[in-house]
């Protein structure tokens, strides 16, 4: 269900699960776009030589997924702040899911607080954070 007004938001509700495009191709294009074209974001084999389990999705791309997930749920939401903790690497070409839950609603200021998590297929949290968004 797409949210268009704060009156439709319920405390404790789960946002629709979002499956981001964590392909190596996307991670690689993104890293190159922002000037981080190092092998750890573009090449699994080269990343393994650096001691990583595989090429990583840049942390700021994971942050971007979180905001896209919020806009997917509430298209008119304005993100006022988002704070993310990079707990472990998001490995490219592995499936991940983003989940979110509404943890606070301030109807006076039309602000909603959402806790968000990126987890891999084993259910291990890789990135988590909190966003504050304004919804008309």
């Amino acid at each position: 269900m797409s949210i268009s007004s704060i009156s439709e938001v319920e405390f404790g509700v789960d946002l629709p699960v979002f499956e981001p495009d964590t392909s190596l191709e996307t991670a690689s294009k993104f890293a190159t776009l922002v000037g981080w074209g190092g092998a750890r974001f573009t090449d699994h084999e080269a990343a393994r030589k650096e001691g990583l389990p595989g090429a990583m999705v840049p942390g700021i791309l994971s942050q971007g997924y979180l905001v896209a997930m919020i806009h997917n749920w509430a298209p008119s939401a304005e993100v006022k702040s988002i704070d993310t903790v990079f707990r472990a690497a998001v490995i490219a070409d592995e499936k991940h899911q983003i989940t979110g839950v509404v943890t606070d609603i301030n109807e006076d200021d039309k602000l909603v607080e959402i806790d968000i998590t990126v987890a891999n297929e084993k259910g291990e949290t890789r990135v988590f954070g909190t966003a504050s968004v304004q919804i008309p």
Partner: protein, 146 residues
């Protein structure tokens, strides 16, 4: 709080140590938004009346340096997280100014020893001086064993 960290806080917090101008290119912000999975026209269509960069775009902008000159290196720095505060949308096609300061220094101690966290904040302003947004970079340094 540890005395050495108190001293660093007194010496370094809230003092600008870098200033840099960034040209916000519309094609770059559109591609950034697309790769993140945004679908709204306000992020993807230059002709949308509300065209703007996606809120986290500023997290990709780096200043000339991430720590002040002379700041001690406790160990290898790792990216521990990012934060963004948005006060006004970033409109592509303009130049914005970023000023960087150290916003916080703190520690956590685990079984493997002390970890030192720094939060570098870039404050972004448009050409009229309007404060548009803040981008925080949290770096963790695991202290070398003594």
């Amino acid at each position: 709080m540890d005395q050495d960290i108190e001293t660093l806080r007194d010496e370094y917090l809230n003092q600008d140590f870098d200033e840099k101008s960034f040209d916000i290119d519309p094609d770059t912000t559109i591609e950034y938004a697309r790769l993140c999975g945004e679908t709204a026209n306000r992020f993807l269509d230059k002709n949308d009346p509300d065209f703007q960069a996606s809120p986290t775009f500023i997290a990709s902008l780096s200043g000339g340096r991430s720590l002040p000159k002379g700041f001690p290196r406790f160990g290898i720095g790792m990216d521990a997280g990012k934060g963004v505060e948005c006060f006004s949308p970033i409109k592509p096609g303009q130049a914005i100014l970023g000023r960087t300061h150290l916003h916080d220094i703190y520690t956590k101690t685990g079984r493997s020893g002390r970890m030192v966290f720094t939060v570098s904040r870039i404050e972004f302003f448009d050409q009229a001086g309007t404060h548009l947004a803040n981008a925080d970079s949290r770096i963790v340094m695991r202290e070398k064993a003594k």
